[in-house]
């Protein structure tokens, strides 16, 4: 059964320096509150995995939490660059980070294989691309039945998965609605998991085929209202697209970034 913890306790207990951490949510339900708590607790040398690093990893990389990033699309959607990620890659600020990059299809398959307990995933992918030349987790194999050459990618098996969801019931079962992304897969692929939720309710009111994670498949649950903002939680609040645009200016400059982090992360404690 999942433990109900405060966000501070959940991060302190389950995320350690040097861990491989996957904080997922495909544009929707991005676990920003949890990311900010990781920053406040000054976790270091993390291998961060996310299909779309988004602002949450831009902030964590800029704050010095990461030693490695595994990803498939590292931009500010519809706006431009992630400037803290670029500064780390182009100028080693605040520290150098290693990267391993995939395509979305390959990374989705790698999570799926991780959830299925397999060592690798197979897909019709990376044909003609230079990505296999720079990522040693991509190989090509021949289909044993047809001989077709297919891509194989190592599965993703993180130490810790972190996701945000709309709600949990009092037994710790979690409902995810809307763009469900890769969240079920990452929780099942990981050794431990933290789920932050908008609210804890008596009854999930889930449809029979809804995306529900049972309590016994989750390690810890923490209530974190607006915990996905400035991304969004369907049914609770919209994506703050204006902030995503503003972030471009904030993150472009190291001092502006640090001032923003001080005011909005370090001086704001979690519940």
């Amino acid at each position: 059964m999942a433990d109900f913890l405060s966000l501070r306790e959940a991060v302190s207990k389950h995320i350690h320096d040097g861990d491989t951490v996957a904080m997922e949510g495909f544009t929707h339900l991005i676990p920003f509150a949890a990311g900010h708590e990781v920053i406040r607790q000054k976790k270091r040398d993390l291998t961060l995995i996310r299909m779309t690093p988004d602002l949450v990893y831009d902030q964590m990389i800029g704050a010095g939490c990461a030693k490695k990033l595994i990803f498939s699309w590292g931009g500010n959607p519809g706006v431009g660059s992630l400037h803290r990620l670029r500064d780390a890659l182009e100028n080693d600020w605040p520290n150098s980070i290693e990267i391993l990059e995939h395509s979305h299809a390959a990374m989705a398959c790698a999570y799926d294989a991780g959830a299925a307990g397999l060592p690798f995933a197979v897909l019709r992918g990376y044909i003609g691309s230079d990505l296999p030349k720079v990522n040693d987790q991509i190989e090509f194999i021949d289909c044993p039945f047809t001989g077709e050459r297919l891509a194989a990618v190592r599965s993703v098996r993180p130490d810790v998965a972190v996701i945000h969801a709309q709600r949990a019931d009092r037994n710790g079962n979690v409902l995810i609605e809307g763009i469900v992304g890769i969240q079920k897969e990452v929780v099942l692929a990981a050794s431990r998991s933290i789920v932050t939720v908008e609210e804890i309710v008596d009854d999930l009111n889930a449809g029979v085929n809804a995306c529900v994670l049972p309590s016994w498949a989750i390690t810890a649950i923490a209530e974190a209202p607006k915990g996905a903002s400035p991304s969004y939680a369907l049914g609770y609040y919209d994506r703050d697209n204006a902030f995503y645009k503003d972030w471009d200016g904030i993150a472009r400059d190291r001092e502006a970034f640090q001032a923003w982090m001080k005011a909005n992360v370090f001086e704001k404690g979690a519940a």
Partner: protein
């Protein structure tokens, strides 16, 4: 009567016209999304639009800023998980057209969205592959749209993120179970198509008011022109009106969200 329009509008309208109601289109964010929704709001009302966030058959009222805005999910027929999207719907062969943007394109329509310079010491780091590497091979054909300049149209891409026809034009030869690859590239100056033999991009139409010299000066290789070079029809008043109101709606929506 001649209408006033910008080269960006010319590009979006031309890209939209490449789409039809019969198509199932996997839509990239940015210019492709603008063109695909313009098509849906004009001549292709029944086109099926699919975004990689898992939203199937979506009909957004404003253009999404990200690939997963709530608007896409709420106006979709249904929303599936990301692995299901890539494995069943794309790799499974249900997409007729992949519509992509890019930072750089070369003469064989290979796309670079990874970086400028050396991989381990990039001059400019770009976002990376995203959905494009597999959209480009698993969709039955690929449309590409981007602004035309010496910086974007290069002889050879610095990094080959997403295959057009490979470094030698032959990357798709004898590869089973993949699509035809890029069939048209639409820019703010012209429309290009790959040569049926060599696969090198050739200019087929110039937009109104654009000269051969304009295209030559904005292309990083010795660009060829088709023997029968056409002129793209100018946008109609209706196309411009719908495009401008879509963009105005979108800007107002995204500005008012704080």
């Amino acid at each position: 009567m001649s209408l006033e329009f910008t080269s960006s509008e010319m590009m979006s309208v031309t890209a939209a016209r490449a789409l039809t109601s019969e198509m199932t289109c996997f839509v990239g964010i940015g210019l492709p999304s603008e063109a695909a929704n313009l098509a849906r709001l004009t001549h292709a009302p029944d086109i099926t639009l699919i975004y990689e966030s898992g939203t199937l058959q979506t009909r957004p009222d404003v253009l999404p800023l990200s690939i997963g805005d709530g608007e896409l999910c709420q106006s979709a027929l249904t929303t599936v998980s990301v692995p299901e999207m890539f494995r069943y719907w794309l790799q499974g062969g249900h997409i007729s057209v992949g519509f992509l943007g890019t930072a750089q394109i070369d003469r064989y329509a290979n796309l670079n969205t990874t970086l400028i310079g050396d991989y381990r010491a990039p001059k400019v780091r770009l976002p990376g592959g995203g959905g494009a590497p597999e959209i480009a091979t698993n969709a039955k054909e690929v449309f590409i749209t981007l602004k035309h300049s010496k910086r974007t149209f290069v002889k050879d891409v610095d990094f080959l993120t997403t295959v057009g026809f490979g470094r030698d034009g032959k990357a798709r030869d004898n590869v089973p179970n993949i699509g035809r690859g890029p069939t048209v590239v639409i820019t703010d100056l012209c429309v290009l198509k790959p040569d049926p033999e060599t696969r090198e991009l050739v200019v087929h139409q110039l937009h109104p008011g654009v000269t051969r010299e304009d295209v030559i000066n904005a292309t990083g290789w010795e660009i060829r022109f088709a023997d029968e070079l056409g002129t793209t029809p100018a946008p109609t008043a209706k196309e411009l009106e719908i495009l401008r109101s879509l963009k105005a709606r979108t800007d107002a929506h995204h500005a008012g969200q704080h």
